[in-house]
Amino acid sequence: MDFGELTTDPIDITSVARRVVPPECGATVTLDGYVRKFTSGRETLHLFYEAYEPMALKEMQKLIEQAKNDFEISNVGIVHRLGKLEIGETSVVISVAAPHRKAAFAACEWLIRELKRTVPIWKKEVYADGEVWVDGESEPPAVAGG
């Protein structure tokens, strides 16, 4: 099965990876992003993630569909956490199952890059002396039609 989900609960990597496994597949590749303690040397106390939830779910579905169209993969699972996250907690897990691991690696790498570019989720870093909403580094997505 494929899925793109948002959750305020802790994410268990194993259970995400397991849910994308069809019986004919031999490998899953999983990207696990988590809360860094230091960003450019500044100590983060915790993070807060906020999403434009219905649009984020739509954009995740688009990524899943495009990945399944462009790569020889079987299933994709994406779970992004929202709300307050402590240091070391998993913020996002992307798991891709494929008959051949090469496609799983390529698709997983593409998915995390696109997720960071297109899915409307924002991160706030909280420091001892303040907080900052992080601006995305990537170019915004091109609009089809418009």
Binding site: Y52, P120, W122, K123, W133, G136, E137, S138, V143
Partner: protein, 79 residues
């Protein structure tokens, strides 16, 4: 027509609110709505803003219909 405008993350912090409503002429373009919103929430200036209409990315010259849901936000930073 009345258009609902949503803010998230940095734009919600800058606007000091999570949503607002603006009155514009029928079939106005996104730019008309966002100019009006920025005028009333000057802290939004200086941010590189992105827009969506009905939960799809939209350019400034897209037209809006009555009942559409517009959102104004900065470059996404999930992951």
């Amino acid at each position: 027509m009345s258009v609902r405008v949503l803010f998230f993350g940095a734009t919600a912090a800058a606007a000091g609110k999570r949503e607002t409503y603006v009155e514009v002429a029928d079939s106005s373009k996104v730019a008309v709505v966002t100019d009006l919103v920025i005028k009333h929430h000057p802290n939004l200036e200086g941010h590189k803003l992105l827009f969506s209409v009905n939960q799809e990315y939209a350019e400034q010259d897209a037209s809006i219909s009555d009942g559409d849901e517009l959102a104004i936000f900065t470059a996404v930073s999930g992951g």
